[in-house]
Symmetry: C2
């Protein structure tokens, strides 16, 4: 976070002159007919190509290590070698992990729907609460919010800090028996890039024991578990171990996937809870499907087995320059102005930029006017509503490096121009 | 169906002698320590091997016909060429079809859950009925029943006839506003092998217009659309066309998959309703997943495109001898005895055997005692309860031909022995 010397120290005349200069620059940009896109947390084509050998990797051998013919039905828990891959991702024993289909989001939806209407395992259904409510650390991941909205679950925001959600806010919130769960992206959080501290992980594992709702669930979406691009990379403590120690295993549901490791949306997803939670999920899966795509599970185990870190290092090589570019541009153009702060993650897919309150929507519209599409303002908050209208999610992975650079030039220009205009208005 | 001259014409003495002979034969079998399995509607290894070229079929070219990079996120409707494959399966235009993940059962579950809690498209939620009830043609497919049970939907049985469900029973049932849907496996129905007549398809398409529930859904699981193994094969009329003519498109939801075409559980599933129904399903899918596995969709389109019928002919070559064996054994051992009737399908995965009322459970236990595992008695009825305890599902696809023959020898022996014992008891 950087906000030492500030634009606020400028006089009205200096601001007016700055606005004129920046406006001229902005108008010039509008003539360039650019079409740049920093909206999506997607891997780019070079990253995807790292896994091109996946199709064909089986070389005609469709037998899993336990003798399963992966071409046929069955096997709701997933293949042993694929669960072992999940163990590497989730820092959790393979036998506590279910390897599923192509979408961890789907496993989340299924888990929440089950928890809401039937109760997860031994827990009573959330639907029995007057107004079942999920805590949402913000800024956060829009698809988590959408799942809640679709299922009619209320959402309550808690602030993210540099060590994870503000646990004092969380502790107060869970005293309400309507509060039945909390979303988490514990490593390289979307969009802040924050990794939960060991203390936060520990507190999160203990949370179900202190929550008023005795069917409280900690939803642990470890989407970026091995997605480091800077060293030293962040280390995340094992929620599995912490929960085992706290006796809360059935109240923790972990998710992960290979979507940003191999092919996005064509990988393998994982879910892991305690004994009863897993049994409930498997029972539900058994009514929904005859089994996951084990052929693709075997492909992933063969392709990544023993070389996951090596593979991720190749992603890091491709991603590091883009994130370095974002950091360089933001520092160069916005440091010390007191009009913005941003995160500098060691991994994940996003940089979170906070501008002056009330300006995010305006800045995103201005950037669009100059040809740069950003994630819609508010997307990182439940119902798309950022109450302070200040968060902007920067997703630099998909665009080519040159586009990232140009986009950041434009974005930072828009931030400066909008901020200067606002500061001048505030003086008048 | 075969039941002309009968075992019932035998005298008590003749029955007693027959029982003694059959018992001796049965006891001899018990010493053989056989372990044969006719339970599962699964393809066998030779069938699966027909699709071994799937892994690697992309040869490094991951671009779909519309320029989509299938390795990345997105595309909830599925790829154009995969939807075209769905069109071939479902006799429905490609633009009315959504190509999804690996499991049509999952698409069914999602559709029913949505219809129950939110309403499908413009329709009111089933949950608003006092006791939402689904009609289940019986004998039928156990996994359909399990979906209903899991979602808390009541089930009401209607009888299957040789042209589909008994439409007079259906017409009476849908006068009850609690009756909100009907399951169908319209071609080579599980387990009867019945294909709905054109008239039944027509009536089914019109059914939502006459049902008391105005949110009535016809659930059309076309699991065996191209799974012919005898000629002339059955032809199924297009429910899509019939529904369009009847103005009921949003009340019909079709399902299909490639699970018994390529790899079981590692193929592509399809769903198709009307405009509003499809929009509702896509909206729900958009909250559950960032998209289906398009890599596998492209594999299937490349592998099967233009040669689906040719590929299915190879399955037919492998399946025909097994079904011929079942028919031969049943005819040879049970014809003209008046103690059993069975179906002789032209495709699909099952033969449905009806024995004397009250004997199915007993016969299945006897067969197990001699080393032949059959689908549990009652499995073809909701809640596993066959009220007349007479239906046995024979699934000959997975076992080797020699095992099918041996299993049928044992099964028919058990049918004769159990029937003779019962007839003798009835005399005494």
């Amino acid at each position: 976070m950087c906000n030492d010397m500030t634009m606020k120290s400028l006089s009205a005349a200096e601001l007016a002159q700055l606005i004129e200069e920046l406006s001229t620059a902005y108008e010039r940009l509008q003539g360039n007919n650019l079409k740049l896109d920093l909206t999506r947390g997607k891997p780019d084509a070079q990253q995807l190509a790292l896994s091109d050998a996946l199709d064909g990797v089986l070389a005609g051998d469709y037998m899993a290590s336990d003798g399963t013919d992966v071409r046929n039905y069955g096997g709701l828990l997933g293949l042993p070698e694929t669960r072992a891959l999940g163990a590497e991702l989730m820092d959790t024993p393979a036998d506590a992990i279910i390897a599923g289909g192509n979408s961890s989001l789907q496993l989340m939806f299924i888990t929440l729907e089950l928890a809401l209407h039937q109760g997860l395992g031994n827990l009573i259904p959330w639907a029995e609460a007057e107004s079942p409510t999920i805590l949402c650390p913000v800024p956060g991941y829009d698809r988590h919010f959408t799942v809640c909205e679709e299922l009619g679950l209320a959402m309550r925001c808690v602030d993210m800090t540099e060590t994870g959600p503000d646990m004092a806010q969380v502790a107060r919130a869970v005293a309400d028996p309507n509060v039945v769960g909390i979303w988490n992206v514990p490593k390289y959080s979307n969009p802040t890039g924050v990794t939960y501290s060991a203390e936060t992980v520990e507190q999160m594992a203990q949370l179900p024991a202190s929550a008023a709702a005795d069917n409280f669930l900690v939803l642990w979406d470890n989407a970026y578990a091995v997605h480091d691009f800077a060293e030293p990379h962040d280390e995340l403590a094992s929620i599995h171990s912490a929960a085992a120690a706290a006796g809360t295993s059935d109240h923790i549901v972990q998710f992960a996937s290979t979507s940003k490791i191999t092919f996005a949306g064509a990988g393998v997803a994982f879910v892991a809870s305690g004994e009863h939670g897993n049994a409930a999920i498997v029972k539900r899966l058994s009514t929904m499907t005859v089994g996951p795509d084990k052929v693709n599970q075997l492909r992933h185990a063969r392709f990544l087995g023993g070389r996951l870190r090596e593979h991720m290092a190749k992603h890091a090589e491709l991603l590091a320059p883009k994130f370095a570019c974002v950091e360089e541009k933001l520092s160069q153009e916005l440091a010390d102005l007191g009009i913005a702060s941003w995160t500098k993650p060691n991994g994940g897919y996003f940089v979170s930029l906070d501008v002056m309150p009330g300006l995010a929507r305006k800045i995103i519209a201005m950037a669009a006017g100059a040809g740069v599409t950003l994630t819609p303002a508010g997307a990182t908050f439940p119902y798309g509503d950022d109450p302070r209208d200040r968060n902007i999610r920067i997703a630099p992975t998909y665009a080519p490096l040159a586009d990232v650079a140009t986009s950041l030039d434009i974005l930072t220009l828009c931030v400066r121009l909008a901020s200067a205009r606002t500061l001048l208005e505030q003086m008048q």
